[in-house]
Protein backbone atom coordinates (compact mmCIF):
# COMPACT_ATOMS: atom_id res chain seq x y z
CA UNK A 1 0.00 0.00 0.00
CA UNK A 2 1.58 3.21 -1.08
CA UNK A 3 -0.34 5.30 1.46
CA UNK A 4 1.24 3.43 4.28
CA UNK A 5 4.71 4.13 3.12
CA UNK A 6 4.02 7.78 2.46
CA UNK A 7 2.35 8.28 5.80
CA UNK A 8 5.16 6.40 7.43
CA UNK A 9 7.85 8.52 5.86
CA UNK A 10 6.06 11.86 5.99
CA UNK A 11 5.96 11.84 9.73
CA UNK A 12 8.64 14.42 10.29
CA UNK A 13 10.76 13.29 13.18
CA UNK A 14 10.96 9.60 13.70
CA UNK A 15 9.54 8.47 17.00
CA UNK A 16 12.28 7.67 19.45
CA UNK A 17 13.60 4.59 17.78
CA UNK A 18 14.27 1.56 19.89
CA UNK A 19 17.90 0.53 20.01
CA UNK A 20 18.84 -0.93 16.64
CA UNK A 21 19.15 -4.68 16.53
CA UNK A 22 22.56 -5.69 17.78
CA UNK A 23 24.83 -6.28 14.84
CA UNK A 24 27.52 -8.83 15.55
CA UNK A 25 30.88 -7.82 14.12
CA UNK A 26 30.87 -10.90 11.92
CA UNK A 27 27.95 -9.33 10.06
CA UNK A 28 26.76 -11.22 7.02
CA UNK A 29 25.03 -14.49 7.63
CA UNK A 30 25.01 -14.29 11.41
CA UNK A 31 23.39 -10.90 11.42
CA UNK A 32 20.89 -11.93 8.79
CA UNK A 33 19.80 -14.90 10.83
CA UNK A 34 19.41 -12.69 13.89
CA UNK A 35 17.24 -10.37 11.82
CA UNK A 36 15.07 -13.26 10.74
CA UNK A 37 14.76 -14.45 14.32
CA UNK A 38 13.39 -11.02 15.15
CA UNK A 39 11.04 -11.01 12.19
CA UNK A 40 9.74 -14.54 12.63
CA UNK A 41 7.00 -13.77 15.17
CA UNK A 42 5.75 -10.96 12.95
CA UNK A 43 5.55 -12.90 9.72
CA UNK A 44 2.39 -15.02 10.21
CA UNK A 45 0.27 -11.95 10.97
CA UNK A 46 1.84 -9.94 8.17
CA UNK A 47 1.49 -12.63 5.51
CA UNK A 48 -2.07 -13.39 6.59
CA UNK A 49 -3.04 -9.71 6.40
CA UNK A 50 -1.46 -9.21 2.99
CA UNK A 51 -3.21 -12.25 1.50
CA UNK A 52 -6.65 -11.65 2.95
CA UNK A 53 -6.86 -7.86 2.72
CA UNK A 54 -4.60 -6.75 -0.12
CA UNK A 55 -5.16 -9.47 -2.71
CA UNK A 56 -8.92 -8.81 -3.07
CA UNK A 57 -8.22 -5.13 -3.75
CA UNK A 58 -5.82 -6.00 -6.53
CA UNK A 59 -8.50 -8.20 -8.09
CA UNK A 60 -11.09 -5.43 -7.66
CA UNK A 61 -8.75 -3.06 -9.46
CA UNK A 62 -8.36 -5.49 -12.37
CA UNK A 63 -12.07 -6.26 -12.63
CA UNK A 64 -12.88 -2.55 -12.62
CA UNK A 65 -11.31 -2.34 -16.09
CA UNK A 66 -13.37 -5.26 -17.40
CA UNK A 67 -16.77 -5.80 -18.96
CA UNK A 68 -18.12 -8.47 -16.68
CA UNK A 69 -21.74 -9.16 -15.90
CA UNK A 70 -22.62 -12.57 -14.47
CA UNK A 71 -25.85 -12.52 -16.50
CA UNK A 72 -23.88 -12.28 -19.77
CA UNK A 73 -20.86 -14.53 -19.15
CA UNK A 74 -19.89 -14.58 -22.84
CA UNK A 75 -19.35 -10.86 -23.09
CA UNK A 76 -16.45 -10.69 -20.66
CA UNK A 77 -13.61 -8.52 -21.91
CA UNK A 78 -11.50 -5.42 -21.51
CA UNK A 79 -13.53 -2.28 -20.89
CA UNK A 80 -10.87 0.37 -20.48
CA UNK A 81 -12.26 3.28 -18.51
CA UNK A 82 -15.90 2.60 -19.47
CA UNK A 83 -16.90 1.39 -16.00
CA UNK A 84 -15.42 4.50 -14.41
CA UNK A 85 -17.18 6.72 -16.95
CA UNK A 86 -20.49 5.05 -16.16
CA UNK A 87 -19.92 5.27 -12.42
CA UNK A 88 -19.13 8.98 -12.59
CA UNK A 89 -21.92 9.88 -15.04
CA UNK A 90 -24.72 7.61 -13.80
CA UNK A 91 -27.36 9.62 -11.91
CA UNK A 92 -27.76 6.99 -9.19
CA UNK A 93 -24.03 6.62 -8.64
CA UNK A 94 -23.50 10.37 -8.44
CA UNK A 95 -26.39 10.61 -6.05
CA UNK A 96 -24.80 7.82 -3.99
CA UNK A 97 -21.48 9.66 -3.87
CA UNK A 98 -23.26 12.81 -2.69
CA UNK A 99 -25.29 10.89 -0.09
CA UNK A 100 -22.12 9.24 1.24
CA UNK A 101 -20.39 12.61 1.65
CA UNK A 102 -23.40 14.29 3.28
CA UNK A 103 -24.17 11.34 5.57
CA UNK A 104 -20.56 11.07 6.73
CA UNK A 105 -20.07 14.81 7.21
CA UNK A 106 -23.33 15.36 9.12
CA UNK A 107 -22.98 12.34 11.38
CA UNK A 108 -19.32 13.03 12.17
CA UNK A 109 -19.71 16.76 12.81
CA UNK A 110 -22.86 16.54 14.91
CA UNK A 111 -21.62 13.62 16.99
CA UNK A 112 -18.26 15.36 17.50
CA UNK A 113 -19.98 18.54 18.74
CA UNK A 114 -22.39 16.63 20.98
CA UNK A 115 -19.57 14.37 22.12
CA UNK A 116 -17.43 17.35 23.08
CA UNK A 117 -20.24 19.02 25.03
CA UNK A 118 -20.97 15.82 26.91
CA UNK A 119 -17.29 15.09 27.52
CA UNK A 120 -16.89 18.58 29.04
CA UNK A 121 -19.89 17.92 31.30
CA UNK A 122 -18.54 14.52 32.31
CA UNK A 123 -15.06 15.87 33.01
CA UNK A 124 -16.48 17.70 36.02
CA UNK A 125 -17.05 16.03 39.32
CA UNK A 126 -20.69 15.46 40.21
CA UNK A 127 -22.84 12.91 41.95
CA UNK A 128 -23.32 9.75 39.86
CA UNK A 129 -20.74 10.60 37.21
CA UNK A 130 -19.92 6.92 36.65
CA UNK A 131 -23.59 6.09 36.14
CA UNK A 132 -24.02 8.84 33.55
CA UNK A 133 -20.88 7.68 31.74
CA UNK A 134 -22.24 4.14 31.59
CA UNK A 135 -25.61 5.40 30.32
CA UNK A 136 -23.81 7.39 27.64
CA UNK A 137 -21.84 4.37 26.41
CA UNK A 138 -24.90 2.12 26.11
CA UNK A 139 -26.05 3.21 22.59
CA UNK A 140 -22.66 2.23 21.21
CA UNK A 141 -23.08 -1.28 22.62
CA UNK A 142 -26.26 -2.07 20.71
CA UNK A 143 -25.57 -4.23 17.63
CA UNK A 144 -25.83 -1.80 14.64
CA UNK A 145 -28.61 -3.76 12.90
CA UNK A 146 -30.53 -3.99 16.17
CA UNK A 147 -30.13 -0.25 16.74
CA UNK A 148 -31.40 0.50 13.23
CA UNK A 149 -34.39 -1.83 13.76
CA UNK A 150 -35.08 -0.12 17.08
CA UNK A 151 -35.18 3.33 15.47
CA UNK A 152 -37.16 2.15 12.47
CA UNK A 153 -39.90 0.21 14.24
CA UNK A 154 -40.01 1.35 17.87
CA UNK A 155 -39.21 5.07 17.56
CA UNK A 156 -39.90 6.40 14.05
CA UNK A 157 -42.98 4.30 13.22
CA UNK A 158 -45.84 6.76 12.47
CA UNK A 159 -48.58 4.66 14.11
CA UNK A 160 -47.08 3.27 17.29
CA UNK A 161 -43.51 4.64 17.43
CA UNK A 162 -42.35 6.33 20.65
CA UNK A 163 -41.81 9.75 18.99
CA UNK A 164 -45.40 10.07 17.80
CA UNK A 165 -46.62 8.43 20.98
CA UNK A 166 -44.97 11.19 23.01
CA UNK A 167 -46.46 13.84 20.73
CA UNK A 168 -49.90 12.36 21.41
CA UNK A 169 -49.25 12.33 25.16
CA UNK A 170 -48.05 15.92 25.24
CA UNK A 171 -50.92 17.19 23.05
CA UNK A 172 -53.49 15.37 25.24
CA UNK A 173 -52.00 17.02 28.30
CA UNK A 174 -53.05 20.31 26.76
CA UNK A 175 -56.47 18.94 25.82
CA UNK A 176 -55.88 18.60 22.08
CA UNK A 177 -57.07 15.53 20.20
CA UNK A 178 -55.23 16.19 16.95
CA UNK A 179 -51.52 15.88 17.65
CA UNK A 180 -49.14 16.06 14.68
CA UNK A 181 -48.22 12.53 13.63
CA UNK A 182 -45.48 12.84 11.02
CA UNK A 183 -44.23 9.81 9.10
CA UNK A 184 -40.60 10.52 10.06
CA UNK A 185 -38.78 8.17 7.69
CA UNK A 186 -40.84 9.14 4.62
CA UNK A 187 -40.73 12.85 5.41
CA UNK A 188 -36.98 12.99 6.09
CA UNK A 189 -35.37 9.69 5.13
CA UNK A 190 -31.73 10.78 5.19
CA UNK A 191 -32.16 12.71 8.43
CA UNK A 192 -33.73 9.62 10.03
CA UNK A 193 -30.69 7.53 9.12
CA UNK A 194 -28.42 10.33 10.37
CA UNK A 195 -30.23 10.61 13.71
CA UNK A 196 -29.92 6.88 14.35
CA UNK A 197 -26.20 6.98 13.49
CA UNK A 198 -25.53 10.12 15.55
CA UNK A 199 -27.15 8.37 18.51
CA UNK A 200 -24.70 5.48 18.14
CA UNK A 201 -21.56 7.51 17.36
CA UNK A 202 -21.81 10.34 19.91
CA UNK A 203 -20.66 7.95 22.68
CA UNK A 204 -17.60 7.02 20.58
CA UNK A 205 -16.62 10.68 20.19
CA UNK A 206 -17.40 11.38 23.83
CA UNK A 207 -15.09 8.56 24.98
CA UNK A 208 -12.15 9.75 22.87
CA UNK A 209 -12.60 13.41 23.87
CA UNK A 210 -13.05 12.54 27.54
CA UNK A 211 -9.78 10.61 27.42
CA UNK A 212 -8.22 13.70 25.82
CA UNK A 213 -9.62 16.01 28.52
CA UNK A 214 -8.37 13.73 31.28
CA UNK A 215 -4.84 13.72 29.89
CA UNK A 216 -4.55 17.50 30.35
CA UNK A 217 -1.81 18.58 32.74
CA UNK A 218 -3.94 19.78 35.62
CA UNK A 219 -1.21 21.68 37.44
CA UNK A 220 -0.78 24.09 34.54
CA UNK A 221 -4.52 24.76 34.44
CA UNK A 222 -4.51 25.31 38.18
CA UNK A 223 -1.68 27.79 37.76
CA UNK A 224 -3.66 29.63 35.08
CA UNK A 225 -6.63 29.80 37.45
CA UNK A 226 -4.47 31.28 40.17
CA UNK A 227 -3.12 33.80 37.68
CA UNK A 228 -6.70 34.92 37.13
CA UNK A 229 -7.55 33.33 33.80
CA UNK A 230 -11.30 32.98 33.20
CA UNK A 231 -12.93 29.65 32.42
CA UNK A 232 -13.45 30.73 28.82
CA UNK A 233 -9.81 31.75 28.43
CA UNK A 234 -8.69 28.42 29.83
CA UNK A 235 -10.96 26.58 27.43
CA UNK A 236 -10.02 28.69 24.43
CA UNK A 237 -6.24 28.81 24.92
CA UNK A 238 -5.46 25.66 26.89
CA UNK A 239 -8.16 22.98 26.73
CA UNK A 240 -9.12 23.43 23.08
CA UNK A 241 -5.58 23.35 21.63
CA UNK A 242 -4.92 20.25 23.70
CA UNK A 243 -8.17 18.65 22.50
CA UNK A 244 -7.60 19.52 18.87
CA UNK A 245 -5.76 16.35 17.98
CA UNK A 246 -8.30 14.23 19.80
CA UNK A 247 -11.04 15.99 17.81
CA UNK A 248 -9.13 15.20 14.62
CA UNK A 249 -8.66 11.59 15.64
CA UNK A 250 -12.34 11.13 16.53
CA UNK A 251 -13.46 12.85 13.35
CA UNK A 252 -11.17 10.85 11.10
CA UNK A 253 -11.80 7.44 12.65
CA UNK A 254 -15.53 8.22 12.69
CA UNK A 255 -15.36 9.18 8.99
CA UNK A 256 -13.62 5.96 8.11
CA UNK A 257 -16.28 3.87 9.82
CA UNK A 258 -19.27 5.90 8.61
CA UNK A 259 -18.14 6.13 4.96
CA UNK A 260 -18.42 2.34 5.07
CA UNK A 261 -21.82 2.28 6.75
CA UNK A 262 -24.13 -0.34 5.37
CA UNK A 263 -26.25 -1.56 8.28
CA UNK A 264 -28.27 1.60 8.97
CA UNK A 265 -29.03 2.40 5.32
CA UNK A 266 -29.91 -1.22 4.59
CA UNK A 267 -32.19 -1.55 7.63
CA UNK A 268 -33.94 1.80 7.97
CA UNK A 269 -34.70 2.66 4.33
CA UNK A 270 -33.35 -0.33 2.37
CA UNK A 271 -31.52 2.22 0.27
CA UNK A 272 -34.83 3.76 -0.86
CA UNK A 273 -36.04 7.36 -0.76
CA UNK A 274 -32.69 8.66 -1.99
CA UNK A 275 -30.63 7.36 0.93
CA UNK A 276 -28.52 4.77 -0.93
CA UNK A 277 -24.88 5.45 -0.16
CA UNK A 278 -21.91 3.99 -2.04
CA UNK A 279 -21.50 0.80 0.02
CA UNK A 280 -25.19 0.06 -0.45
CA UNK A 281 -25.10 0.77 -4.21
CA UNK A 282 -21.99 -1.38 -4.64
CA UNK A 283 -23.68 -4.20 -2.73
CA UNK A 284 -26.72 -3.84 -4.98
CA UNK A 285 -24.76 -3.56 -8.23
CA UNK A 286 -22.86 -6.74 -7.60
CA UNK A 287 -25.27 -8.80 -5.49
CA UNK A 288 -28.49 -8.05 -7.33
CA UNK A 289 -27.52 -6.64 -10.74
CA UNK A 290 -24.41 -8.84 -11.03
CA UNK A 291 -22.56 -6.08 -12.88
CA UNK A 292 -19.11 -6.97 -11.57
CA UNK A 293 -17.17 -4.44 -13.64
CA UNK A 294 -19.19 -1.45 -12.51
CA UNK A 295 -19.36 -2.59 -8.90
CA UNK A 296 -15.57 -2.85 -8.88
CA UNK A 297 -15.11 0.59 -10.41
CA UNK A 298 -17.40 2.03 -7.71
CA UNK A 299 -15.36 0.13 -5.13
CA UNK A 300 -12.17 1.73 -6.41
CA UNK A 301 -13.85 5.16 -6.14
CA UNK A 302 -14.65 4.46 -2.47
CA UNK A 303 -11.08 3.33 -1.87
CA UNK A 304 -9.70 6.54 -3.39
CA UNK A 305 -12.02 8.61 -1.19
CA UNK A 306 -11.02 6.61 1.86
CA UNK A 307 -7.31 6.92 1.12
CA UNK A 308 -7.72 10.68 1.08
CA UNK A 309 -9.23 10.60 4.57
CA UNK A 310 -6.96 7.82 5.79
CA UNK A 311 -3.79 9.72 4.91
CA UNK A 312 -4.83 12.47 7.30
CA UNK A 313 -5.95 9.93 9.85
CA UNK A 314 -2.64 8.11 9.79
CA UNK A 315 -0.78 11.39 10.24
CA UNK A 316 -2.88 12.28 13.28
CA UNK A 317 -2.50 8.85 14.80
CA UNK A 318 1.24 9.00 14.29
CA UNK A 319 1.47 12.35 16.11
CA UNK A 320 -0.34 10.90 19.11
CA UNK A 321 1.71 7.73 18.77
CA UNK A 322 4.97 9.69 18.97
CA UNK A 323 3.85 11.56 22.06
CA UNK A 324 2.82 8.33 23.69
CA UNK A 325 6.24 6.86 22.97
CA UNK A 326 8.06 9.95 24.12
CA UNK A 327 6.70 9.53 27.62
Amino acid sequence: MSTTLEAGRGRGQQPPTPPPPPSPPAGGALRRSADWARRAPLLPALVFTIIVTQLPFVVTLIVSFMDWNAYYPDERGFAGLRNYASVLTDVNMRRAILVTVVLTAVVVLVSLLLGMGIALLLDRKFRGRGVVRTMMITPFLIVPVAAALLWKHALFNPEYGLLNGMLTTVWRLFGSDSPPQPDWITAAPLVSVEVALIWQWTPFMMLILLAGLQSRPLDVIEAAHIDGATNWQIFRYMTFPHLRRYLELGGLLGSIYIVQNFDAVFTITSGGLGTANLPYVIYQTFYQAHDYGRASAAGVVVVIGTIAIATFALRTVSTLFQEENAR
Binding site: L5, G8, L46, R129, L150, R244, L253, F262
Partner: protein, 297 residues
Protein backbone atom coordinates in the same frame (compact mmCIF):
# COMPACT_ATOMS: atom_id res chain seq x y z
CA UNK B 1 1.59 22.40 18.66
CA UNK B 2 0.43 24.23 21.71
CA UNK B 3 2.50 25.15 24.64
CA UNK B 4 0.52 22.93 26.95
CA UNK B 5 1.26 19.73 25.17
CA UNK B 6 4.94 20.50 25.19
CA UNK B 7 5.24 20.42 28.90
CA UNK B 8 7.33 17.40 29.67
CA UNK B 9 5.93 14.06 30.56
CA UNK B 10 2.44 14.37 31.94
CA UNK B 11 0.94 11.70 34.13
CA UNK B 12 -0.99 9.29 31.95
CA UNK B 13 -3.95 9.33 34.24
CA UNK B 14 -5.53 11.99 36.31
CA UNK B 15 -4.80 12.00 39.99
CA UNK B 16 -7.63 10.77 42.22
CA UNK B 17 -10.81 12.73 41.79
CA UNK B 18 -10.39 14.67 44.98
CA UNK B 19 -7.75 16.86 43.39
CA UNK B 20 -9.97 18.37 40.75
CA UNK B 21 -10.63 22.01 41.11
CA UNK B 22 -13.70 22.91 43.07
CA UNK B 23 -16.43 24.60 41.06
CA UNK B 24 -16.45 28.17 42.18
CA UNK B 25 -20.21 28.59 41.93
CA UNK B 26 -21.87 25.58 43.55
CA UNK B 27 -25.27 26.36 42.05
CA UNK B 28 -23.91 26.45 38.47
CA UNK B 29 -22.05 23.24 39.21
CA UNK B 30 -25.24 21.52 40.36
CA UNK B 31 -27.04 22.69 37.23
CA UNK B 32 -24.30 21.30 34.99
CA UNK B 33 -24.45 17.99 36.86
CA UNK B 34 -28.20 17.93 36.30
CA UNK B 35 -27.67 18.66 32.59
CA UNK B 36 -25.27 15.72 32.36
CA UNK B 37 -27.84 13.44 33.99
CA UNK B 38 -30.55 14.67 31.62
CA UNK B 39 -28.45 14.12 28.49
CA UNK B 40 -27.27 10.71 29.67
CA UNK B 41 -30.90 9.78 30.29
CA UNK B 42 -31.95 10.97 26.81
CA UNK B 43 -29.29 8.78 25.22
CA UNK B 44 -30.30 5.70 27.17
CA UNK B 45 -34.08 6.15 26.72
CA UNK B 46 -34.25 4.29 23.37
CA UNK B 47 -32.52 1.30 24.97
CA UNK B 48 -34.80 1.40 28.03
CA UNK B 49 -37.78 1.68 25.69
CA UNK B 50 -36.53 -1.33 23.74
CA UNK B 51 -36.29 -3.42 26.91
CA UNK B 52 -39.67 -2.23 28.22
CA UNK B 53 -41.41 -2.87 24.90
CA UNK B 54 -39.87 -6.32 24.65
CA UNK B 55 -41.59 -7.14 27.96
CA UNK B 56 -45.05 -6.01 26.83
CA UNK B 57 -47.66 -7.98 24.94
CA UNK B 58 -47.88 -7.18 21.23
CA UNK B 59 -51.18 -5.32 21.79
CA UNK B 60 -49.71 -3.12 24.54
CA UNK B 61 -46.49 -2.56 22.57
CA UNK B 62 -48.30 -0.99 19.61
CA UNK B 63 -50.48 1.61 21.30
CA UNK B 64 -50.45 5.33 20.74
CA UNK B 65 -50.01 6.99 23.22
CA UNK B 66 -47.59 4.42 24.64
CA UNK B 67 -48.79 2.18 27.47
CA UNK B 68 -45.81 2.46 29.78
CA UNK B 69 -47.48 0.80 32.74
CA UNK B 70 -48.92 -2.18 30.85
CA UNK B 71 -48.40 -5.57 32.54
CA UNK B 72 -45.10 -7.29 31.84
CA UNK B 73 -44.89 -10.57 29.95
CA UNK B 74 -42.26 -12.72 28.24
CA UNK B 75 -44.45 -13.27 25.16
CA UNK B 76 -42.09 -11.24 22.95
CA UNK B 77 -39.13 -13.43 23.90
CA UNK B 78 -41.21 -16.57 23.46
CA UNK B 79 -42.22 -15.61 19.94
CA UNK B 80 -38.62 -14.67 19.13
CA UNK B 81 -37.48 -18.11 20.24
CA UNK B 82 -40.22 -19.77 18.24
CA UNK B 83 -43.20 -20.36 20.53
CA UNK B 84 -46.18 -20.02 18.18
CA UNK B 85 -44.04 -18.59 15.38
CA UNK B 86 -41.88 -21.58 14.48
CA UNK B 87 -38.85 -19.27 14.29
CA UNK B 88 -35.51 -20.67 15.39
CA UNK B 89 -32.80 -18.09 16.05
CA UNK B 90 -30.49 -20.59 17.79
CA UNK B 91 -28.47 -21.67 14.73
CA UNK B 92 -27.69 -18.05 13.85
CA UNK B 93 -26.82 -17.17 17.45
CA UNK B 94 -24.53 -20.19 17.61
CA UNK B 95 -22.95 -19.27 14.27
CA UNK B 96 -22.26 -15.77 15.56
CA UNK B 97 -20.77 -17.20 18.71
CA UNK B 98 -18.57 -19.63 16.74
CA UNK B 99 -17.38 -16.97 14.30
CA UNK B 100 -16.69 -14.38 17.01
CA UNK B 101 -14.96 -16.67 19.50
CA UNK B 102 -12.81 -18.65 17.04
CA UNK B 103 -11.77 -15.57 15.06
CA UNK B 104 -10.88 -13.80 18.31
CA UNK B 105 -8.68 -16.72 19.37
CA UNK B 106 -6.93 -16.82 15.98
CA UNK B 107 -6.46 -13.04 16.13
CA UNK B 108 -4.74 -13.35 19.51
CA UNK B 109 -2.52 -16.21 18.31
CA UNK B 110 -1.36 -14.08 15.38
CA UNK B 111 -1.32 -10.68 17.09
CA UNK B 112 0.58 -11.41 20.29
CA UNK B 113 3.80 -12.63 18.60
CA UNK B 114 3.50 -9.80 16.08
CA UNK B 115 3.09 -7.25 18.86
CA UNK B 116 6.13 -8.77 20.58
CA UNK B 117 8.18 -8.25 17.42
CA UNK B 118 6.95 -4.66 17.32
CA UNK B 119 7.66 -3.68 20.92
CA UNK B 120 9.90 -5.83 23.12
CA UNK B 121 12.35 -6.97 20.44
CA UNK B 122 11.39 -4.61 17.63
CA UNK B 123 12.25 -5.33 14.03
CA UNK B 124 13.75 -2.53 11.98
CA UNK B 125 11.18 -0.14 10.47
CA UNK B 126 8.67 -1.35 13.03
CA UNK B 127 6.63 1.86 12.78
CA UNK B 128 6.13 1.31 9.04
CA UNK B 129 4.81 -2.16 9.80
CA UNK B 130 2.43 -0.72 12.40
CA UNK B 131 1.07 1.78 9.91
CA UNK B 132 0.71 -0.89 7.26
CA UNK B 133 -1.55 -2.87 9.62
CA UNK B 134 -3.53 0.25 10.41
CA UNK B 135 -4.03 1.16 6.76
CA UNK B 136 -5.56 -2.24 6.03
CA UNK B 137 -8.25 -1.54 8.64
CA UNK B 138 -9.07 1.77 6.98
CA UNK B 139 -9.77 0.36 3.53
CA UNK B 140 -13.48 -0.23 3.02
CA UNK B 141 -14.50 -3.89 3.17
CA UNK B 142 -17.09 -3.30 0.47
CA UNK B 143 -14.35 -2.66 -2.10
CA UNK B 144 -12.90 -6.14 -1.63
CA UNK B 145 -16.26 -7.86 -1.39
CA UNK B 146 -16.65 -9.00 -4.99
CA UNK B 147 -13.33 -10.89 -5.28
CA UNK B 148 -14.03 -12.52 -1.92
CA UNK B 149 -17.49 -13.54 -3.12
CA UNK B 150 -16.12 -14.92 -6.40
CA UNK B 151 -13.42 -16.82 -4.52
CA UNK B 152 -16.01 -18.27 -2.16
CA UNK B 153 -18.18 -19.32 -5.08
CA UNK B 154 -15.25 -20.92 -6.87
CA UNK B 155 -13.95 -22.76 -3.81
CA UNK B 156 -17.35 -23.81 -2.50
CA UNK B 157 -16.94 -21.79 0.69
CA UNK B 158 -20.15 -19.79 0.24
CA UNK B 159 -22.41 -20.20 3.26
CA UNK B 160 -19.51 -21.62 5.26
CA UNK B 161 -18.79 -20.18 8.70
CA UNK B 162 -15.02 -20.78 8.31
CA UNK B 163 -14.83 -18.19 5.54
CA UNK B 164 -16.34 -15.60 7.90
CA UNK B 165 -13.87 -16.67 10.59
CA UNK B 166 -10.93 -15.99 8.25
CA UNK B 167 -12.35 -12.62 7.18
CA UNK B 168 -13.18 -11.51 10.72
CA UNK B 169 -9.65 -12.45 11.74
CA UNK B 170 -8.23 -10.20 9.03
CA UNK B 171 -10.68 -7.45 9.97
CA UNK B 172 -9.66 -7.44 13.65
CA UNK B 173 -5.97 -8.23 13.36
CA UNK B 174 -4.82 -4.58 12.94
CA UNK B 175 -6.78 -3.47 16.02
CA UNK B 176 -5.39 -6.36 18.04
CA UNK B 177 -1.79 -5.71 16.91
CA UNK B 178 -2.07 -2.03 17.86
CA UNK B 179 -3.71 -2.74 21.20
CA UNK B 180 -1.36 -5.57 22.14
CA UNK B 181 1.66 -3.49 21.15
CA UNK B 182 0.56 -0.67 23.41
CA UNK B 183 0.20 -3.13 26.31
CA UNK B 184 3.48 -4.94 25.64
CA UNK B 185 5.27 -1.58 25.41
CA UNK B 186 4.47 -1.14 29.10
CA UNK B 187 6.50 -4.19 30.04
CA UNK B 188 9.79 -2.89 31.49
CA UNK B 189 12.48 -4.42 29.29
CA UNK B 190 15.19 -3.70 31.88
CA UNK B 191 13.43 -5.93 34.37
CA UNK B 192 13.20 -8.70 31.79
CA UNK B 193 16.93 -8.46 31.20
CA UNK B 194 17.79 -8.21 34.87
CA UNK B 195 15.61 -11.21 35.61
CA UNK B 196 17.32 -13.33 33.01
CA UNK B 197 20.77 -12.28 34.31
CA UNK B 198 19.77 -13.17 37.86
CA UNK B 199 18.94 -16.57 36.55
CA UNK B 200 15.19 -16.31 36.94
CA UNK B 201 13.57 -18.85 34.70
CA UNK B 202 11.55 -17.79 31.72
CA UNK B 203 8.34 -19.09 33.27
CA UNK B 204 8.94 -17.19 36.49
CA UNK B 205 9.61 -13.96 34.58
CA UNK B 206 6.51 -14.48 32.51
CA UNK B 207 4.37 -15.09 35.56
CA UNK B 208 5.74 -12.38 37.85
CA UNK B 209 6.57 -9.59 35.41
CA UNK B 210 4.80 -10.02 32.10
CA UNK B 211 1.47 -11.58 33.04
CA UNK B 212 0.20 -8.86 35.41
CA UNK B 213 0.72 -6.24 32.73
CA UNK B 214 -0.32 -8.18 29.68
CA UNK B 215 -3.27 -10.31 30.84
CA UNK B 216 -5.70 -7.39 31.29
CA UNK B 217 -4.60 -6.20 27.85
CA UNK B 218 -5.34 -9.58 26.29
CA UNK B 219 -8.75 -9.60 27.95
CA UNK B 220 -9.63 -6.13 26.66
CA UNK B 221 -8.35 -6.93 23.18
CA UNK B 222 -10.40 -10.10 22.95
CA UNK B 223 -13.56 -8.39 24.14
CA UNK B 224 -13.22 -5.66 21.51
CA UNK B 225 -12.47 -8.14 18.69
CA UNK B 226 -15.47 -10.18 19.84
CA UNK B 227 -17.73 -7.10 19.63
CA UNK B 228 -16.59 -6.17 16.10
CA UNK B 229 -17.08 -9.73 14.81
CA UNK B 230 -20.44 -10.13 16.49
CA UNK B 231 -21.72 -6.83 14.97
CA UNK B 232 -20.61 -7.44 11.38
CA UNK B 233 -23.39 -7.54 8.78
CA UNK B 234 -22.17 -6.80 5.24
CA UNK B 235 -19.86 -9.81 4.86
CA UNK B 236 -22.24 -12.10 6.70
CA UNK B 237 -25.18 -11.09 4.56
CA UNK B 238 -23.29 -11.42 1.27
CA UNK B 239 -21.41 -14.64 1.98
CA UNK B 240 -23.82 -16.72 4.06
CA UNK B 241 -27.26 -18.10 3.44
CA UNK B 242 -29.28 -20.57 5.44
CA UNK B 243 -26.53 -22.68 6.99
CA UNK B 244 -23.94 -20.18 8.21
CA UNK B 245 -26.25 -17.19 8.81
CA UNK B 246 -25.19 -15.06 11.79
CA UNK B 247 -27.33 -13.21 14.32
CA UNK B 248 -27.20 -9.79 12.57
CA UNK B 249 -28.19 -11.57 9.35
CA UNK B 250 -31.09 -13.17 11.22
CA UNK B 251 -32.18 -9.73 12.41
CA UNK B 252 -32.49 -8.47 8.82
CA UNK B 253 -35.57 -10.72 8.65
CA UNK B 254 -37.26 -8.03 10.76
CA UNK B 255 -36.56 -5.16 8.36
CA UNK B 256 -40.05 -5.17 6.82
CA UNK B 257 -43.01 -4.79 9.16
CA UNK B 258 -45.16 -7.86 9.67
CA UNK B 259 -48.30 -6.79 11.49
CA UNK B 260 -48.12 -6.82 15.28
CA UNK B 261 -44.49 -7.72 15.92
CA UNK B 262 -42.94 -4.82 17.84
CA UNK B 263 -42.45 -6.69 21.12
CA UNK B 264 -40.81 -9.53 19.20
CA UNK B 265 -38.50 -7.10 17.33
CA UNK B 266 -37.46 -5.45 20.58
CA UNK B 267 -36.86 -8.84 22.21
CA UNK B 268 -34.77 -9.89 19.20
CA UNK B 269 -32.74 -6.67 19.21
CA UNK B 270 -32.10 -7.00 22.94
CA UNK B 271 -31.15 -10.68 22.87
CA UNK B 272 -28.72 -10.15 19.98
CA UNK B 273 -27.20 -7.07 21.63
CA UNK B 274 -26.85 -8.66 25.06
CA UNK B 275 -23.41 -10.28 24.47
CA UNK B 276 -22.08 -6.95 23.15
CA UNK B 277 -23.49 -5.05 26.13
CA UNK B 278 -21.85 -7.51 28.52
CA UNK B 279 -18.51 -7.50 26.68
CA UNK B 280 -18.61 -3.70 26.32
CA UNK B 281 -19.28 -3.00 29.97
CA UNK B 282 -16.63 -5.53 30.95
CA UNK B 283 -14.09 -3.78 28.71
CA UNK B 284 -15.34 -0.28 29.61
CA UNK B 285 -11.99 1.04 30.81
CA UNK B 286 -10.10 -0.17 27.75
CA UNK B 287 -12.87 0.58 25.24
CA UNK B 288 -11.36 3.89 24.12
CA UNK B 289 -7.98 2.32 23.61
CA UNK B 290 -9.44 -0.35 21.37
CA UNK B 291 -11.72 1.94 19.40
CA UNK B 292 -8.93 4.44 18.78
CA UNK B 293 -6.64 1.57 17.75
CA UNK B 294 -4.49 2.11 20.80
CA UNK B 295 -3.79 5.75 19.97
CA UNK B 296 -5.58 7.04 23.07
CA UNK B 297 -5.15 5.59 26.51
Amino acid sequence: MSSITDIGPVPATRTPEGEEREPRKPRAGALLGLAAWLIGFLFVVPVLWMVLTSLHSEEDAATNPPSILAPLTLDGYQSFFGVGTGANPWPSLLNSLTASVISTIVVLVLAIPAAYALSIKPVRKWTDVMFFFLSTRMLPIVAGLLPIYLFAQWSGLLDNIWLLIVLYTAMNLPIAVWMMRSFLAEVPVEILEAASMDGAGLLLTLRRVVAPIVLPGIAATSLICFIFSWNELLLARTLTGTVAQTAPGYLTGFVTSQGLFLAQVCAAAFVVSLPVLIAGFAAQDKLVQGLSLGAVK
